[in-house]
């Protein structure tokens, strides 16, 4: 039992389950799934579908954070990739053609990849602090997106593009398949190769890793490329959802929600050990929370207040000081000061 509780996914999972339970009790319709024309509908399905952009961005963010970095530019990259995709589709003679849409998607994702590589170059090669390096693109990116769309919100009518966010495959939302594919891809890349452990090594102790012969530059660069690429895909999904490229609203604040999702999933912002499953749960918590807030009749504009309290709650739960106080109140034993020795071993006894 205690062993379970000490698992680092314990709290995230419990929070998610609790959130779903509260919703299910408050409005039983929340857990209902209806079948219409062989396609599944319901609040839970909506959560899975709507979470796709955040899921992609948060997965990329996880890898970046594992290297001790942060990618603030993801929202701007989403805006750019959406702008590129929509501008290509808008400019083509046949916006409804599947080929056109595929070309648009591939080009926009490639652009996002290049933007990610640019971030990676600044961080890994020029060794600029990640916050600042990605701040450059965060500032400039939306400007670039506005230039691409000439300052307008480009709208298109293109069924194949609409399918990306709203279509169904095998009865499930197509966007969910994108999420699952991204999760599987990241999990394979990180955990079936040595990339995961080398990434963690770089994140925990970059200098020691370099001295040991780890190609830290390549690993850091790669992390930003992944983050940029995934943000690009997220940008396509976002613009498919609203069938428009909105350089200002696309991915607004998504970098903050993505970071929140990663932290909720138990990955520390200081880099190192990371959990892909944790991030997935973190994203679902945020999406469920958003759905809950909407249900409560709070305007979505006010929802940041809730997230403020979520952030505070999460950091307090993770804070060592709160842990100490709690231990003192529950009468935990004192022991010798041991800077290099972890405590907590005695909990099992």
């Amino acid at each position: 039992m205690t062993r379970w509780m000490r698992h680092r996914l314990f709290l995230p999972v419990v929070s998610l389950v609790a959130l779903i339970l509260v919703n299910a009790i408050a409005r039983p319709r929340f857990v209902q799934i209806t079948v219409r024309d062989g396609e599944l509908y319901g609040a839970l399905i909506d959560i899975l579908r709507n979470s796709a952009p955040l899921m992609l961005v948060a997965l990329g963010m996880t890898v970046v954070i594992a290297t001790r970095g942060i990618d603030l530019s993801v929202g701007a990259v989403m805006a750019v990739s959406g702008a590129v995709a929509l501008t290509i589709i808008d400019g083509s003679s046949d916006p409804g053609n599947v080929g056109t849409v595929l070309v648009a998607i591939v080009v926009s994702v490639l652009v996002a990849l290049v933007l990610g590589a640019w971030n990676g170059f600044l961080v890994a090669v020029l060794e600029i602090q990640p916050i600042i390096a990605t701040l450059v693109l965060m500032l400039a990116g939306r400007g670039v997106a506005l230039l691409i769309t000439d300052g307008f919100i480009t709208t298109v009518t293109s069924p194949p593009l609409k399918y990306v966010a709203s279509g169904h495959l095998l009865g499930l939302p197509f966007a969910l398949f994108i999420s699952v594919a991204a999760i599987a891809l990241i999990a394979l890349m990180e955990r079936r190769t040595a990339l995961g452990v080398l990434t963690e090594a770089v994140g925990i102790n970059p200098e020691a890793s370099r001295l040991t012969g780890v190609r830290s530059r390549g690993i850091i660069l790669g992390a930003y490329v992944v983050s940029g690429t995934f943000a690009g895909v997220a940008g396509v999904i976002y613009s498919s959802n609203i069938m428009a490229a909105d350089a200002n609203a696309a991915g607004e604040l998504i970098e903050l929600y993505a970071i929140l999702a990663v932290v909720l999933g138990g990955t520390s912002l200081t880099g190192g050990k990371f959990s892909i499953a944790g991030t997935v749960i973190g994203v679902l918590i945020i999406q469920t929370l958003q759905s809950t807030i909407l249900f409560l009749g709070v305007s979505s504009a006010e929802s940041p207040v809730f997230f403020a309290f979520v952030v505070i709650l999460v950091v307090l739960i993770q804070s060592p000081r709160v842990y100490q106080v709690a231990r003192r109140m529950t009468g935990g034993r004192r022991h010798h000061p041991a800077p290099e020795v972890t405590t907590g071993v005695e909990v099992t006894s």
Partner: protein, 502 residues
């Protein structure tokens, strides 16, 4: 005799289950210079940390002026007049020299800092130490030696009653040492009790009235310096007679004219190391001795590809492959173990197994992952071979003791099957038992044909494990001498005397 100013009785400090300090008595009289002697890991640092409030005592008590005191922070000890200057300089590089001396007790009028007076006061204190530098200049612009003196200036600029100097001379040349000793004698005249810790026994004999010897966390004894022969001091410190230490037969000695494994010519990196020539044959242990900041670490980093060379060439076995980074060095069989175990060595949150196999994994690349089962197996065999405890490969490496962390790092490098291993202060901050094991391991490796470069601030240790010793001063290798021809005292003299012919 008058009453002691400070008295520690039965001082005990536990780290986890191990006692770093075990029932030690220590007294300090006003107006004396008292040295604390012991090898790395003997408990010196722990004792002074307890004395200065940086560590709480697990058992025992501290008395100041005959009254029991308890310091829960360095700040409290400072208010009681106990100040410490550590080898790792804890000043602020981004502030001016004057602020570094005065901040916390700076002159101000109505809450407004009086910069002019602050600078004047700083200039005065610095002049006392024989330093003529601009108090308004930024601290970070000065050399390690000057920063060390500024740290001392800070300590003596207030009403100090007990001054602890932990390796204050490790970066100072002889002239600077002389100034420091003059100041120490001044302080003694003023009734200050000075605790002086140094690797250099000569200096201990030069300024100290009394020594307390520690070994393995326990008190060996307290002696008057003038009544204690140097040879007896060394024996008390090591717990063995000096002859015992000389018994290791060096199976391989550099053969004249043998093709060196490594041949470095005119290696320069910035001003850290200049025009260094190094030859190392197979099976040789080359000791490197020098002051802190002399370039001993820079030499190691240059040879192992950590820092990019500004000039010079390094040839491995006469080959032409250039070392242009840690990776290429590793591929040529040259590996480096940093003096900063925590920041440049161990990956604390990763498991011991992951730490041990990290270098091998890095060499194999990302795709060819070592399977977890194989990783454990490999790690366990190394843990067995080097006796790493506890024998749990899944434990985070950061939770191991210093000595075991060091062994994990050695295992990581040895798993690469290197030809030359460069060890920078491998015995710093580890207990005596582990230290002897590391020394023996080095000898064993050399006997098996590995070349070793061994850097240590403990000159005794350098002579004990080395075949030859390279002496580094001011960024240059000034001499390379056979270890059999030197006593520690002679080596100390060589290391700390710039410009003097040998």
């Amino acid at each position: 005799m008058e009453d002691p100013l400070v008295q520690l009785t039965g001082a005990t400090v536990y780290f986890g289950a191990d006692a770093a300090l075990d029932g030690v008595d220590f007294r300090l009289f006003p107006g004396e210079v008292h040295s604390l002697i012991g090898e790395n890991g003997a408990g010196k640092s722990t004792l002074i940390k307890a004395l200065t409030g940086a560590l709480p005592l697990s058992a025992g008590r501290i008395e100041l002026d005959g009254r029991q005191v308890r310091f829960s922070s360095p700040r409290e000890a400072q208010l009681a007049g106990i100040r410490a200057v550590y080898q790792e300089i804890d000043l602020l590089p981004n502030l001016s020299v004057a602020e570094n001396i005065a901040l916390g007790s700076e002159s101000h009028r109505w809450g407004v800092i009086d910069w002019a007076r602050m600078r004047d006061r700083a200039r005065e204190v610095l002049r006392d130490l024989g330093l003529d530098i601009d108090p308004a200049s930024l601290l970070g612009q000065h050399s390690v030696a000057v920063q060390q003196l500024i740290a001392i200036a800070r300590a003596i600029s207030t009403d100090v009653r007990v001054l602890v100097l932990d390796e204050p001379t490790s970066s100072l040349d002889q002239g600077e040492c002389a100034e420091l000793f003059r100041v120490i004698r001044d302080l003694r005249e003023r009734g200050v009790a000075v605790v002086f810790i140094s690797h250099f026994l000569d200096q201990v004999y030069e300024v100290c009235d009394r020594v307390t010897v520690l070994r393995d966390g326990k008190l060996v004894g307290e002696y008057l310096t003038r009544e204690l022969l140097r040879i007896d001091l060394v024996q008390a410190m090591l717990g063995r007679s000096v002859e015992d230490l000389r018994t290791r037969s060096r199976l391989r000695v550099a053969e004249e004219g043998a093709e060196p494994f490594l041949c470095a010519r005119s290696v320069s990196v910035g001003t850290g190391i200049r025009e260094a020539d190094v030859d190392l044959v197979e099976g040789e242990v080359l000791g490197v001795a020098g002051l802190l900041g002399s370039g001993r670490t820079e030499l190691a980093r240059a040879i192992t590809g950590i820092d990019r060379l500004d000039a010079g060439i390094i040839r491995i076995q006469g080959g032409t492959d250039a070392i242009d980074g840690p990776r290429s060095a590793i591929s040529l069989g040259v590996v480096y173990s940093s003096e900063n175990r925590r920041t440049e060595g161990i990956i604390g949150d990763l498991s011991v197994a992951e730490n041990i196999t990290l270098a091998v994994q890095a060499e194999r690349g990302i795709v060819r992952r070592i399977a977890p089962a194989r990783q454990r197996e490999l790690a366990l065999s190394w843990m067995e071979a080097l006796d790493i405890r506890p024998r749990d490969p899944d434990r985070p490496a950061g939770t191991l003791s210093g000595g075991n962390q060091q062994k994990v790092l050695l295992a990581r490098l040895l798993a690469l099957a290197p030809r030359l291993i460069v060890l920078d202060e491998p015995t710093r901050g580890i207990d005596v038992g582990a230290k002897v094991e590391v020394q023996n391991l080095v000898s064993e490796l050399a006997d098996n044909g590995l070349s070793v470069m061994f850097i240590s601030a403990e000159l005794e240790e350098v002579l004990r494990v080395g075949t030859r010793v390279a002496i580094v001063q001011g960024g240059r290798i000034v001499d390379t001498v056979s270890c059999d021809e030197l006593t520690p005292a002679e080596l100390t003299a060589l290391v700390a005397q710039p410009g003097e012919p040998t």
